[in-house]
């Protein structure tokens, strides 16, 4: 049976900060859509969403999650963009034995050293990004790198994973500059990257930071002087903000693109009608994870965490977001990823037509085998 | 009718008829407050052009407060203050000064970071015909000697001289002087007496707040005696002897 007679999902996200376009209010919409599509009730109990802005601060997130768990009967925490937030909420989820459905946070440690039994990592991770964008660039001859890295867990994780790929491909890393998160003026970091002489300047950051770094590089004539910028995590919303003129030709790894097939187009169109924007992978991932969670409750008739998580692992993930996705015992949801290239303005046929898919990266390749996971509870 | 009312109405001033005199300052029913405390309780007084009057009284009688109220330096005041024919009870300090009023404050108010000369030159001209800096240095040779010293380095007495000199440059013709002999050597006090006499001859109107009765007595045309925020009496120069009792009572001279 359902505890407290209601299934409550708490969406904790960045509502107005650096990642608010990537995740933000759109993820709350996605969660609401998932519930509506599910019919509003599960196993006879109503489903509710609560949401809060964690401002990308771990402590705000942890306090909110703790309070939700203690006083509001929240059963699952969803979205959790920003790795530090996800990790903080993991602590709370572990203590309270609640489920954490991570979509926005990207660091691979979430299903490795930092994993918890009820922490499920849905959309992507930095390893997948490295395998996608990183190795594609190395293959094109980008064999010396300099990183501009956001100074927190996610940046480190991304730099670490890409470094592994670069070195495995025979390239080398010449150095890295850590920049504060979020940062606005990248000129000094860009100059350092330039001075390093590396062929590729890898941006181990995301959202507003990536956009600003690309702009600074343009201002200081980096690209015209022959170095290349590699955005290691670029979202559709970033391409939208940069404009195709600036972004064209960028390689990026996507977990989702609205224009893949009829199903994705249909869902994305509905999302667009509500928000005025096409969804990012993070937003689609929230829909997918919430839906899968509800399915497991429906199937087991209980909202008991252990039972539900077990059921979620048992069932394949199969929706417009992921086909034949598998939820592994370390919490990783393994599904196919896409290597895409940003279209030139000429190639684009209309608004939001930004990407062409270069290659589908099979889930196994993107996320590696379970045996590589260092999660102690796998 | 109290003595104060009588005199403020300008009925008899040393036998001359009031209509021949121009009122430079006329205060009626002036009340002033420091926060909640009521410092002036309805002051009435009139000062005519070219006159030198004193405000006498014990510490805390309200003399400084009267000057500050006239100058517009006390926010909460009521009643009427007519300065050279204009009502200024609602005016702010700079507007009042611009009517040709010069104020020498009790605490001297030398600007510590400005030099002596800068202090002298600071107050803007409020009327034509002020003294020149050279003239002032002649009157106060100590200042000439220290003209480049910053205000904060001056001795107590030098500051007092500077505060006085400063307002003579601006062309102000109504001077409000608060305890200007304070801390001065007797020689300088004598000198100041001469200066005041000279100013009077030139037609200045002067309101003088003094503790030093010996100094004030021979200079003044009239003495207003204050106590507890009231003007309790007004003594003409010619009545000094007869009114000794008043001085004994309120000043314990």
């Amino acid at each position: 049976e359902i505890s407290d007679g209601v299934v409550k999902i708490g969406v904790l996200t960045d509502m107005s900060g650096t990642y608010s376009d990537v995740a933000g209010p759109g993820t709350v919409t996605a969660a609401e859509m998932a519930i509506e599509d599910f019919g509003g009730t599960v196993a006879g109990a109503p489903i509710e969403v609560v949401s809060a802005d964690h401002q990308n601060k771990a402590d705000v997130a942890a306090n909110k999650a703790r309070e939700w768990g203690d006083t509001q009967q929240v059963d699952a925490f969803a979205e959790l963009v920003t790795t530090s937030v996800a990790m903080a909420v993991f602590e709370v989820a572990k203590q309270q034995n609640k489920i954490a459905l991570v979509s926005g946070a990207a660091s691979s440690p979430l299903t490795n050293d930092a994993c918890i039994p009820s922490g499920l990592h849905w959309t992507y991770n930095t390893r997948a990004l490295a395998v996608g964008t990183g190795s594609a660039i190395v293959k094109e001859g980008g064999d010396s790198w300099y990183f501009l890295t956001a100074d927190y867990a996610f940046g480190e994780s991304l730099q670490r994973d890409v470094t592994a790929v670069v070195e495995a491909g025979g390239g080398k890393v010449l150095g890295a500059s850590k920049h504060p998160f979020p940062a606005s003026d990248f000129s000094s970091f860009v100059l350092q990257a330039q001075a390093s002489g590396a062929k590729i300047i890898g941006l181990a950051n995301a959202g507003g930071d990536t956009i600003n770094a690309i702009k600074a590089a343009n201002e200081f004539g980096i690209v015209s002087a022959g170095q290349k910028i590699a955005g290691l995590l670029v979202f559709l919303s970033d391409v939208h903000a940069l404009g195709l003129e600036t972004a064209q030709g960028l390689l990026m790894t996507a977990s989702f693109y609205w224009d893949l097939n009829d199903e994705t187009r249909a869902w994305s169109q509905r999302f667009y009608e509500r928000t005025g924007k096409m969804p990012t992978g993070v937003q689609a991932g929230v829909y997918s994870s919430v839906t899968h969670y509800l399915k497991a409750i429906e199937a087991t008739g209980t909202d008991d965490t252990d039972t539900v998580v077990a059921k979620m692992r048992e069932m394949p993930v199969d929706d417009f977001f992921a086909q034949n996705g598998v939820l592994r015992s370390d919490g990783r949801m393994v599904h196919d990823m896409y290597l895409a290239e940003v279209k030139s303005p000429e190639e684009s046929t209309g608004p939001w037509d930004y990407l062409k898919i270069v290659r589908v990266i099979p889930g196994e390749e993107a996320y590696g085998p379970l045996s590589e996971s260092t999660c102690p509870t796998k | 009718m109290s003595a104060a009312e009588k005199y403020s109405a300008g009925i008899e001033i040393g036998g001359e008829h009031s209509s021949e005199k121009i009122e430079d300052l006329r205060i009626t029913d002036l009340h002033a407050f420091y926060g909640e405390s009521h410092a002036l309780h309805g002051i009435d007084m009139t000062v005519y052009q070219g006159e030198l009057v004193t405000l006498l009284g014990r510490n805390g009688a309200g003399r400084t407060t009267t000057l500050r109220a006239v100058m517009g330096l006390i926010e909460s005041r009521s009643g009427s203050i007519m300065l050279k024919g204009k009502e200024v009870i609602k005016a702010s300090a700079h507007e009042i000064a611009r009517l040709g009023v010069g104020y020498c404050p009790e605490e001297r108010g030398i600007f510590a970071s400005l030099s002596v000369e800068e202090n002298l030159l600071l107050p803007p001209h409020v009327a034509p015909g002020g003294m020149s800096v050279e003239e002032l240095y002649e009157i106060f040779p100590n200042l000439a000697e220290r003209r480049t010293s910053p205000g904060m380095r001056l001795s107590g007495g030098e500051q007092q001289m500077l505060a006085m000199a400063r307002i003579l440059r601006t062309g102000a013709t109504l001077l409000l002087l608060d305890e200007i002999t304070e801390g001065l050597a007797p020689v300088i006090v004598d000198k100041l007496g001469d200066v005041l006499t000279m100013l009077k001859e030139r037609g200045f109107t002067i309101v003088l707040v003094e503790q030093n009765f010996q100094f004030a007595a021979p200079l003044a045309d009239r003495h207003f005696i204050m106590d507890h925020g009231h003007i309790v009496d007004c003594v003409l120069q010619s009545e000094l002897k007869e009114k000794q009792a008043v001085f004994d009572e309120y000043l314990s001279v």
């Binding site: 001075a195 201002e219 | 300090a93 108010g109 803007p124 307002i167």
Partner: protein, 296 residues
């Protein structure tokens, strides 16, 4: 050469020095505004960062809704924000006359929270892009680095504004009024100087300087509601280093702290965010009144 001796590529050294100078220009203009305001109101204007942000936002909004270009905004935004400053002074700061100066700091701190909170609410905490004017696109290759024209313009514009301000405040009577007003505004007013007007204008001018810096910064840092809030603390440290005493002090300290920061990025990158505070601590030990401050 010198730089080669130290094992540093000239490209890096000069590049960071130049960027330091650019940052220093912002420090200078901002600390100058603080100095002017402090001079007459005896208030440490904590809202300075928020007003700097307001300048950038004014430029952005002017462009977005009224299609006024950068150059127009560079003139208009400081005027608008200066006017806001005048209003703030009239209706809020004026009421603090006569109470401990600390309350001025606290009031402006509250103001900063209010303004920044409002803008975060309206525009989100992420930045709004703001393009540099077309005429200043591109740059020149100096050999050791590529200098974008826009950045060069920032330095020149700041220096000009600083010089003009210095002239007005130190070489005209306004300067003497400013200093006298700091010590005893009441008395200055009793001499016939319209001190309330002077204070209001000083606040308006100081605030307009902040807004000017904000417009200059917009193309570099984007327009972000929180762009001023961390900067202001660095500027406070600059002010402590220079001492609140002089206009010149504000300008010189501002520029040199930018350069010091740039050099630190080359030689000791880990300390670049703290170097100004370290300098401040050293100055406090050696010269508590600051480099240009008057001891009393």
């Amino acid at each position: 050469m010198f730089s080669d001796l130290l094992g540093i590529a000239p490209q890096v050294l000069f590049g960071q020095l130049l960027l330091g100078l650019i940052n220093g220009s912002f420090y200078a203009v901002l600390s100058l505004g603080l100095a002017v305001i402090f001079g007459l109101l005896n208030i440490v204007n904590f809202a300075h960062g928020a007003l700097y942000m307001l300048g950038a936002f004014a430029a952005w909004l002017l462009g977005k809704y009224l299609h006024i270009d950068y150059w127009g905004a560079l003139i208009l935004a400081p005027l608008i924000v200066g006017f806001i400053g005048v209003v703030l002074d009239r209706f809020l700061l004026r009421r603090l006359a006569g109470v401990d100066h600390l309350y001025g700091l606290l009031l402006t701190f509250g103001l900063a929270m209010l303004i920044e909170g409002l803008f975060v609410k309206m525009f989100g905490a992420s930045g709004q892009p703001f393009a540099a004017p077309k005429a200043l696109n591109g740059g020149v290759n100096l050999g050791f680095m590529f200098l974008p024209y826009y950045r060069a313009w920032v330095v020149v514009a700041s220096l000009v504004v600083c010089a003009v301000t210095w002239y007005v405040f130190e070489r005209t009577k306004i300067g003497a009024y400013l200093r006298a007003g700091t010590e005893n505004p009441k008395l200055l007013q009793a001499f016939g100087v319209n001190v309330p007007l002077l204070t209001t204008l000083a606040y308006g001018y100081g605030v307009a300087l902040a807004a000017f810096a904000g417009v200059l910064a917009a193309p570099i840092t984007q327009v972000n509601p929180l762009m001023g809030s961390n900067l202001i603390i660095v500027v406070f440290a600059v002010v402590v280093i220079g001492g609140m005493g002089s206009i010149m002090g504000a300008i010189v300290t501002g520029l040199s702290m930018g350069v010091v920061e740039g050099l630190t990025k080359v030689f000791w990158p880990e300390a670049s965010s703290t170097i100004i505070f370290i300098v401040m601590a050293i100055v406090l030990v050696l010269r508590p009144a600051g480099l240009f401050g008057r001891t009393n």
